[in-house]
Symmetry: D2
């Protein structure tokens, strides 16, 4: 039954008052801290969440640096951020599934729910998607308002530091699970934040062997600590022959997480005929690509990966976390109070940190 | 964006006034016609639909006859019926996707949307499902109120008579599409209403050969008119050897639509090793079943089919209808004004009619 | 049991004598007719087939024209051709499944059977593949010798003219079935020989709507005659918006059969988010491709298609042919005696004919 | 190329001489040891293997005990056994892929290779299957002759004790991989030899949680040592509610390995709506089964599991073994010289041992 009596629900109105937030204050580098942003009001089918812990994404870095993509899309003046955990503070008059006090995270991709993909279990690729902290106010603030249908209740056995990064962890889980790695040999090209997460996810999800490539030797070392069977510097392509020899003429699965044309070329060369490639990394521009050699003659399957499945990926992520088999603590390297956001971003941008969290 | 301004929406209140409806008025046979049932009010996330045309389902017959299942589940006093088409008359204050005037049908399975299956594209098997006309007021009335999330907008090129039977047609489409029939040999055991629909659906969906069995010779003839390659009286099992000989030791796909233990036994005998069986027909009781011979040694896949997928099945159904390849007019045999519901039910129950519609 | 007694088998020795054949006689344009080619002997696990009818493939045209690819791969002196039907004439001493007299065709891709893909049902993408009429003697001759494991027994109800073109028809069937078209909207980009076959195959396999593009107006007309819902001249891309409007923001399935970069770009633009693209057409060189827009943000699945599955595709093809739903007679336009091979090739190369057969 | 020159091959003739073997010598209990069984000759497409280590299967126990099934199928006088590892000793004249000296195991299911399933990657469910040690001479002997197409070359990094039990381990791997367990909650009902193997396989293949049931407490303890999250005595069904509560109203996957009707009933009750059940255990007779509750209303998928896929399962098994994540040493409990076969069988039949090996 979806009928509800309004008297059991919190008021659908502004809380009044002000809050802290990190604002994209001008069309240039950096963010500004504000402590007098109005606390947002909540619509009938929305919930307001008191934010507790947030993660800094590579996308936030782009917005910080105000690159071409950011300048073309992000409205100046919005609150940034989309990775977070918190507690529900207020629910709209027509909300049926949540009550104040619940610990929750949220999916950052918002859709109307009306299009073909939203109605068939693929809302993550809905055509009318907008994203928190990119197209509208995000979570780098004391409060965020999200549609009820975007809320994810956090399992009590999952710690805040993991719940705060469901969004990027979900990218890794979606990529790994879409390709399917159980009892398969896997190559992960690119071990940035999400690539590193993919190493531990692939291992927990049953990969029999995990090879990694990158051009950052310390990250390759870390990949091995997280469970990679072997990790290669991509600047020397000799590894391809070794991998092909140690497998049945190539890995079963390629998880492409760099967006680098060289990594794509190497990755497909290291993929066996009939293998599956899941592409998450975004090339900076078009790629001059050999379809015959890499896809058609090989009889490969190539999967475009975007976001996280709502909600298959989230359930998978929860199960993987509860299994105790994910090693994320080496990836979550720093935490700062939000007031020290300058230091947090610097740590992340310099590469000194990997996943950097901020507390509110 | 899901935020809405309330001033563009219809009022969330009762229309007042009364309407016609077919009521399960007592714990016994039959239904009662009423013309002073109150027009239902609409909750914030609901829409009210002015019903135009309805279909009588086998389930409605069970409720009419007040069999053991009905007596144990259906509340006396409700309006019955769940197959319909109509136009939206009013929308709740928090409805975002629909406006009055739209021609719509609706999925009859209602869920909270909160459980695992609802959140992963499988709401049709949600644990907390209730059904219109069975657990709460249905569509055999001038108006029905349904949750916004259950509404299906009808394509302008689809006639009312087809839109009124999306529910059972959806059962047939879900069964056919779950099994997969493209370029496959198919056996449909049981050609009642849904079995007959499955014949034309399977043909449109690409089945290379369609065999049917039943114990009702006129229905078997009709199955052939709708596209069955051959149709056999199940009372003589000699057809099994013929089918096995004409295929590769059995059909690729079994669509079981009778619930009869004999049909299940014959069907699995006629299924090839490695074939797929989709079970829609509900046996009246437990079945003494040879798992070794029928499933395990055969290496078969067996699919339990319930309802229709929200909304994959509905999109498939729309595409099949728009392709012009479904022959439903021989299955939709009668139409009556709702005031002649006695005659309508008698036509359906006697077997003189197949799919019987009523107009409001 | 695989043990055999040799006395029931034909002799494993050369038949002696000579035969007719079309030879790639020099490193330049054309083929030469010979009538004194030795009849080949048959090895222990091979069969020799008396060829009756053959088809001219686009590949044969490349070999005729001696393009760069042919010059780099095809050994001068071999008999060309790989599409045929005939009768078994002799079997090797260790052959167990066939006997002289059987009407057969054969898969043109030969593998050792020892590699990963051959052992897991994917011999069509085995790494050690060689092909009749390209890497070794083919079927444009009175006799061809093939491994027992490559033989396909032809169903008695299938006419020779269809059995002679199992190879290219199999390309079309494999592409269509790999993508899956049942109750789906489909775009076929490129309606050459295989693209035209794909139209009738997709229709028989249950596609709900079939759009075609090409730059050859007569072929587009023919596509419509074969069942295409609509067919567009790709030189004007306005059709893309029309197709997106008439579907749910794009077709469910793209079958790319041209290898033209423009067709690939248009095709992916016309594909809905979450759709599937099956790539059969071979681009002449690398393609400058927008992975983000076409694959990653869309969440698409891309399938590389090579050859035909052994033997799933062949069984599907047989079922489709036996269903009577394939319209191939408009595609098979000409037949010549093999002595008129010059005329046959000219008909095919000029575009006056589509599929051209030769009789022996 | 499949053409071979015979001079590089071993002779296709009997080795002469005699060997040891365990014979089903009479229609009653037990086996007899013989040391003067003739060494078998090898046909043109067969290889002869010098057996080194064998495993005793539950099927061998049935043959030992001469139960109704054995009496109806097994020919008196054959050599028993079908789990083994050894080295190739001789190859037939038409063998192309193997040479004497190679360390190999073999698939025990022999088919002609001519039927639908054998030609489409599903030879494990071919209609014309015969099995070593059941329908014809098996491996409890110094030598066994097998068709070339049944041979599996053993990876050098896999120890003999594991290679000797590829057959039952393959049953476990096929069941686990057919159901798919990656990031899923799994219930294994029945932890006999194969059930126990399935625990470690499921864990290595990425199951997030593994529940087990049985009525043998020591085996339940062992299941926990091998990685089961929890293990329950099936004689008290209270565990079902606990499991449903700790998951999303049931496990994602049921692996039924007992054949016990009570276990099947409990297992399906513990399976969530939309879950997958893989059935390997063979019920002793027909089962009175509630299809509505267990399969149809639940929308479940049920998979019949028979043998092992040739050769997908074998590759998966190899990868799992090489990953170092399978714990089989607690399952392989005893080894005896073949002359002590009485003791070996007694150890296995009494339950004192689990997987018992014999050395030749």
């Amino acid at each position: 039954m979806t009928q509800i009596s309004t008297d059991t629900l919190a008021q659908d109105e502004s809380a009044g008052g002000t809050m802290r937030g990190l604002i994209k204050h001008h069309a240039g580098t950096g963010l500004a801290f504000s402590d007098d942003r109005p606390i947002p009001s909540v619509g009938p089918r929305e919930v307001r969440i008191k934010v507790k812990k947030v993660g800094i994404c590579g996308t936030d870095r782009h917005i910080w640096e105000w690159d071409e993509w950011s300048a073309g899309r992000v409205p100046v003046g919005i609150i940034t951020g989309h990775e977070f955990v918190g507690h529900i503070d207020a629910v709209g008059s027509a909300v049926t599934q949540y009550t104040p006090g619940q610990r929750v995270s949220a999916e950052g991709h918002i859709t109307s729910g009306a299009d073909y993909n939203s109605r068939t279990g693929n809302a993550h690729i809905a055509a009318d998607t907008t994203i928190f902290g990119i197209d509208r106010d995000g979570c780098f603030a004391d409060y965020i308002v999200v549609p009820e249908s975007n809320v994810w209740p956090v399992h009590p056995d999952i710690e805040d530091k993991y719940a705060a990064i469901f969004d990027p962890l979900g990218n890794a889980v979606h990529t790994v699970m879409a390709a399917g790695v159980s009892a398969k040999t896997v190559l992960i090209s690119g071990v940035g934040i999400i690539g590193l997460m993919a190493v531990t996810v692939a291992k927990a999800a049953g990969a029999s062997r995990i090879y990694c490539t990158d051009i950052n030797p310390p990250r390759l070392e870390l990949a091995k600590e997280l469970g990679a069977t072997d990790a290669f510097d991509a600047r020397d392509s000799a590894w391809i022959e070794q991998v092909r020899r140690d497998t049945y003429e190539g890995v079963d699965v390629l998880l492409e997480m760099s967006g680098a044309p060289m990594a794509m070329d190497q990755g497909f060369r290291a993929l066996r005929n009939g293998g599956t490639a899941a592409l998450l990394g975004l090339p900076a521009r078009t790629v001059d690509f050999d379809f015959n050699k890499h896809i058609i003659f090989k009889g490969c399957t190539v999967l475009g990966i975007n976001g996280r499945k709502m909600w298959d990926t989230w359930y998978q992520m929860e199960k993987l976390l509860l299994s105790g088999r994910l090693e994320l603590d080496k990836v979550i390297t720093h935490e700062y109070p939000i007031e020290e956001f300058d230091k947090a971003f610097e740590t992340m941008i310099s590469g000194a940190g990997i996943k950097v969290l901020m507390n509110l």
